[in-house]
Structure formats: structure tokens, C-alpha cells
Symmetry: C2
Subunit: 187 residues, 2 copies
DNA sequence: AACTTTGTACAGTTTTTTCTGTACGAACTT
DNA sequence: AAGTTCGTACAGAAAAAACTGTACAAAGTT
């Protein structure tokens, strides 16, 4: 697994691999929560245990998959800030390693993915709210429709309130305040 | 959309639908973050604006999809606690309505989905850690392998620390303490 | 300048997921 | 008891996603 195998026997290698494989399996599977494929999750696991940054070719050979897949997998992980591109003198190839700070990984995920969703939802809700208000003020709007609109408006208002809260929660992730609220443990 | 259309004109209906549709579109799309299909997201949006609990048949007719799909979609949303089954006297059909408390929806999601992932990851990490310790104590383990194992162990220890933190964060969602830490707004 | 090596775009294939129609058991009605 | 109605299991069709091989541009080497 990216290790210089001349220094250890096949048997020793097997033992270490067995342990790693089980962890990779579980971690990879649960990474579907982050919206990544099982295979991308495995790729992450592979990089997690790699003792040095890996190239696309190395990953492909370890995963028994095409370099193209490694390329797209790595890009997905890069987009999620779960993997970093690493520069190494003398190598023409791109090298990648996992972001080992999982606290960072988690908060980045929220700061990016969830923020995007919250913003777009808020925007849609506000546009709708504005349009409803416009209709409610219009004399052409019948009493009956006005009642319907008011109900919709109230629902939207509640959703808006929730999203504002979520936005603030994401703020605490982004600026690290979450770690004051829910402290990391003493190491 | 589940409304008694005798009370309003086609034109009025159109206007309301146009507003709703745009919100449903966006909310549905962003629900992919919760790991649900776009169409299930739309179903949720439909129920969100419904002015009364809906039956599978009504959903199917609104969504122009089979009742079977509604059945599975609703079950997905039920599993996520995003939709509730509602009892209504005199109706033999099952009725469903969205959970309008989105704070609850969000925290439930974490309490369920993320907790499951955290627990299974923690278990896997701890098993691996135990096995590594066992090997490290064994006299058969070469110096070289021991070094590799120690590196793995340290990585696992860090991940374990992160998951314990995440577990505590999820606790705050589950018991509502998160709303003391990041308060809801005054309504 | 010709030749390698590297990463990725893209088209086509394979695999997976989603969706539908049929069938059937459960529960209610007559 | 026969007849409805309802929800869902299941098999197959349709759609979407993942994966691969080829091709090529960019950048380095000779």
C-alpha cells in the first residue's frame, strides 16, 4: 500500500493490510453521508493509511481501478477539502494526501455544502415571500386566494426562521466558535 | 394542489402554483444533502404546501407518478422523520403531512443518520486499535512492522478523538442543548 | 524540434438506482 | 362470503451514475 515492500515480508504485509482494510471499509461506507461514492470513500481510506502522498497511478494500482477514476475521485475529495494536493521536489506527478484534521474536514463540509444549500433556499423563500406580499396588496386578489397565500406565507416564514438559525450554526463551524460551544477533548 | 378548486379560478390557481413550484424546486433540489432523490425532495415540497394531509393517490396524481413511487418516497421521508402519518376519522386511507418543525427535522437527521455512522466508525476504529496493540505487544512483530503499526495507531487515535467530539455534538442535537448554544431567534 | 510523461475530457459500456405495472394480502363494506 | 379498496412486494423497464479506454493538450526531457 504505497510502502516499500522490500523491508517486510508478504506475511507481515498481509497482517497490516487486514487491519487497515476493515477500517477503510467502514469509513468508506459511512462517507456516503458526505455524498460521495463508496469507491471514492475507499479511495479516501486508502489515502488515510498511506504513509506518504500518493500519485494517481499508485492509487489506481492499489484500487485496481483506472487512472481516470482516480482522477475524478480525487477531484471530488479535493472539492470537499478532504484531500490536499502536495508538492514534492523532483516529482512531475501530482501528489495527494488526506486532510488528517477531521475536525477541519467536518466544519469545512458544512461551511461549503450546507452553506450553499442554505443560501439558495433562503433566496428562493424570500423571493416567494416578496411575491406573495405583492399579491396580497393587489386589489385583484380575491379573499379566498388571499387566505391561501397567507397560509403559504406563514409556512415560508417558519422555514426562513429555521434557515437563519442554520446559517448561524454554520457560522460557528466556519469561524471555529463551535469548538468553544462543544469543546474538543484534551488530547 | 389538493385544494378544493371549486372556490378559485384556474388563473388564480396558476399564480399560486407558480410561486409554490419555484420554492419546491429549490427545496427539493437541496434535499439531496439529506441523501434523498430529487423526486422525493419534490414530494416533500408538495406536502410542505399542501393545506391538509395527503393520500398516496393524491400525491401520485399531483406528481404525475405511480402510487408505488409515492409509497416508497413517503417511506423514505418517514424514516427521516420528515413526514408524519396522520390519523383522520372516517378515512380508510393513510394520510401524511410534513413535519413543519424544521429544527426538529434537522436535529433528528443528525441524531439518527450521523449517529449511526459515528457509532459504526468508532467501533471499527476501536477494534483496529485493539488489534494493533495486541500485535505491538507480540514478540513476533518485527521492528519495522511495529513502526508502521504505530503510525497507523496514531492516525486512528486522532480519528477516534474527532468521532468522540462529533458524538458530543450529536448529543447536543438530540437533547436540544444546541439551541442553548446557538439560540433560535425570537420569533 | 521530436519525444515522453501526466492529467483529464469525452464517448461508450457497465452497473446501479429509480420508477412502473402487476399481483396479492389485509382490512373494510355490503 | 363476495366484493372493494388500500398499501406494498416484486419483477422488469427506464433512467442515471459510475467506470473505462482512447485521445489529446500541457509541460517536461533529450
Amino acid at each position: 500500500m504505497g510502502l516499500d515492500q522490500t523491508q517486510w515480508s508478504e506475511k507481515e504485509h498481509e497482517v497490516v493490510q487486514r487491519i487497515r482494510k476493515r477500517v477503510i471499509e467502514v469509513v468508506g461506507r459511512n462517507m456516503e453521508l458526505y455524498g460521495v461514492t463508496l469507491s471514492t470513500g475507499h479511495l479516501y481510506g486508502l489515502l488515510f493509511f498511506a504513509d506518504k502522498p500518493m500519485t494517481l497511478d499508485e492509487m489506481g494500482s492499489e484500487m485496481q481501478m483506472s487512472k481516470t477514476s482516480m482522477s475524478t475521485g480525487v477531484r471530488t475529495l479535493l472539492d470537499l477539502n478532504m484531500v490536499n494536493k502536495v508538492w514534492e521536489k523532483g516529482s512531475r506527478k501530482d501528489l495527494y494526501e488526506v486532510e488528517y484534521d477531521w475536525y477541519q474536514t467536518f466544519t469545512d463540509y458544512f461551511a461549503n455544502e450546507w452553506r450553499r444549500a442554505v443560501e439558495s433556499n433562503l433566496q428562493a423563500l424570500r423571493r416567494a415571500m416578496k411575491e406573495i406580499d405583492r399579491l396580497l396588496e393587489s386589489p385583484d386578489t380575491s379573499e379566498f386566494v388571499a387566505d391561501v397565500l397567507k397560509k403559504d406565507r406563514e409556512k415560508i416564514r417558519q422555514a426562513d426562521s429555521y434557515y437563519r438559525w442554520l446559517d448561524r450554526l454554520i457560522d460557528t463551524m466556519e469561524d471555529g466558535a463551535i469548538f468553544d460551544l462543544v469543546p474538543r477533548e484534551a488530547e
